[in-house]
Amino acid sequence: MSSDSKRKAPKAQAKPKIGVFKFASCDGCQLCLLDAEDELLGVVGAVEIAYFPEATRTMLKGPYDIGLVEGSITTHHDAQRIQEIRRKCKTLITIGACATAGGIQALRNWKDVDEFVRAVYASPQFISTLKLSTPIAEHVPVDFELRGCPINKYQLIELLTATLVGRKPNIPTYSVCMECKRKAAVCIAVARGVPCLGPVTHAGCGALCPSYDRGCYGCYGPMETPNTASLTSQFRILGQSGDQISRAFRSFNAWAWQFRKASEECERA
């Protein structure tokens, strides 16, 4: 052995540990990581995937530098689990509409959940579920909420990069309308009278639905300062009934308070 090889190698800097945690959800947002085909090998080279059951059998104990949380809280057990996860994660990021707004399963929040369970399950006594489906931030402090149903994988990579280098992520909070304008797309609501949630919906999808000839259905949830009352009046002018408008607000981000309030006002009206 040469004297060189005896010399201690400089201690490699430990890679930041990432954990991916799932609650009530469809798995789609965590799948965005695996769907980043061009970036995946680069990302996993820069971090240590310490806990990500969908992708690996390796399950390392915390603490984790970054915790990505998908899904909403719908059981007592999960309400406890999120507390433990929060304690183990230096930075906690929620990914997607379930984790940031309760998801589509929050439609139970306006109904009798026991009746819901009876409608689906033959032996409802086996089902342990909470009356409400709630976002993670109703249970623990969250450092960043990434919107979307599903999230945009490029926004996820931007958010991870920014968090790792300690800068503010470049994730705009304006509405889908801005994205339409940037694409120089003709406004389908104004030009063709299609009911479109674009004016009140958080950007991030790249104005997908209007580009495919349909109105935005709000899967990124409310933008920072949505004028839902004005949009409701516009929908009425377009001939939409209160029920229809209420349903439009009540989908994947139904429990986000701005959409919740708007849908309840339509019901009352």
């Binding site: 798995d27 090998l41 992708a55 819901f116 409608a119 033959a122 599903p150 997908l208 495919y212």
Partner: protein
């Protein structure tokens, strides 16, 4: 965990499956006394909140049952609703839907073959570890997966929860030139899939053959996606409307799970193996040849070989995508009108993991009165447990750690999607 000559195989968190589940097998010597595939994924109650929603919302809502196979949900929902409303779609739209499904199969099968399943055969914890020794294989896998996703993206707007598929057609149909742009990449993918068949066939498979009832769609002309009769190797031959008469879900006390069975018979198997065994003659020549060259011919009864069958279906999906693109002419209207009407409709389509059944009853205002959804994983669940009962007994000589990993592998052969299955499985939270 050995005691009194018995042992317990336990996996608290099943890895590299979609959703959250656990495995519990109790043994005394060679005798398996209990097998539980425990699902602790919380229920989301889709069929309950679909009531009162307009039928046009069902494709977008049910897509959210599963981020891995949203197209399957959209296709089953749309076809069931079109049947309830009596809608006829344009032939061009029919072709586009096949193409859409090709994209999902390519993306889902490439994900499962290389990223979720192959590490088991090669002794890795995950694809990241595998990439250190097999980087070219993993890069090829990612490129394959990406072409599937590109197809979905072009037709549906995005890979996960696409937005263009609708009752009556698509919100927007692609131009011919847009599809043409994918041809060279798909030609590469076809070659890569043929390579995948060769590569997966060189893996080592345990000697484990079972006498399955295979259940899949069968269409007179084509390998099935959206249409056909539901058939089995034991004489089943029915229309989707008869599904609930011939299949039932029941409750096994010790497993606390709703399990699907063929009435009067028992467990059955859906998915790639079932499709391949029942529809081999409908595969294009290139896929048939690729299978035969590596010694794969129906009936394949070894579940572990499903990884090779998935690769053969990759070949099919790439060849089919190229065929559709070659024939494609944009429809005159991308979407026929779907006026409100009272009705009931059922449909079965072939999700990557097997048949997916939807039924909707709709009222005169177009609102959903009842919905029923039976996903592939809940149909395979009893079969998974039956397999494990046999397989665990064969593993008595192995160390507990090795036997546990082997049982996990057997479950992964099914490519189970627990997020999907949860709406139908009994969820038990075990508390001390």
């Amino acid at each position: 965990m050995t005691g009194r000559g018995g042992r317990t195989i336990k996996v608290d968190t099943l890895a590299r499956v979609e959703g959250e589940g656990a495995l519990y097998i109790k043994m005394a010597g060679n005798h398996v006394s209990e097998v539980k595939l425990r699902i602790y994924e919380p229920p989301r109650l889709f069929e309950a909140f679909l009531r009162g929603r307009h039928f046009s919302e069902a494709p977008d809502i049910t897509a959210r049952i599963c981020g891995i196979c949203p197209i399957a949900y959209q296709m089953s929902a749309i076809h069931a609703i079109e049947r309830a409303l009596g809608i006829q779609i344009a032939p061009e739209v029919r072709l586009l839907r096949r193409l859409f499904y090709c994209g999902e199969w390519i993306e889902s099968h490439a994900l499962h073959i290389y990223m979720l399943h192959a590490p088991d055969f090669l002794g890795y914890q995950d694809v990241i570890e595998m990439a250190k020794d097999h980087r070219p294989v993993v890069e090829k896998a990612l490129r394959l997966k990406k072409i599937g996703n590109r197809l979905v993206q072009l037709l549906g707007g995005r890979e996960i929860h696409p937005i263009s598929a609708a009752v009556g057609g698509f919100h927007k149909a692609p131009a011919k030139s847009q599809l043409r742009e994918l041809v060279s990449e798909l030609e590469w993918a076809l070659e890569a899939s043929l390579e995948a068949v060769r590569w997966t066939s060189t893996l080592e498979f345990p000697d484990f053959e079972q006498d399955y009832e295979f259940v899949a769609l069968r269409h007179p002309q084509e390998y099935p996606f959206n249409e056909g009769r539901l058939v089995s190797n034991r004489g089943l031959d029915i229309d989707a409307a008869e599904y609930e008469d011939r299949f039932s879900e029941y409750h096994v006390k010790h497993s606390n799970a709703l399990q699907s069975v063929v009435r009067g018979r028992g467990s059955y198997l859906v998915g790639p193996l079932a499709r391949f065994n029942l529809n081999f003659d409908k595969l294009p020549e290139v896929a048939q040849k690729a299978a035969l060259v590596v010694g794969l011919k129906p009936p394949v009864k070894n579940l572990f070989r499903s990884i090779v069958v998935r690769a053969v279906e990759l070949v099919f999906a790439c060849a089919e995508a190229l065929r559709v693109i070659n024939e494609y002419e944009p429809p005159a209207v991308s979407r026929v009108p779907a006026p409100n009407r009272r009705g009931v409709g059922q449909a079965i389509t072939e999700a990557p993991r097997g048949i997916l059944y939807h039924r909707y009853a709709i009222d005169e205002n177009g609102l959903i009165v009842t919905a029923k959804i039976v996903p592939p994983t809940s149909q395979n669940q009893k079969r998974i447990e039956d397999d494990l009962r046999e397989y665990a007994a064969q593993l008595a000589a192995w160390s507990l750690e090795e036997a546990t990993w082997k049982c996990e592998q057997a479950v992964r052969c099914y490519d189970p999607c627990i997020s999907c299955a949860t709406h139908f499985l009994k969820v038990v939270i075990e508390r001390d």
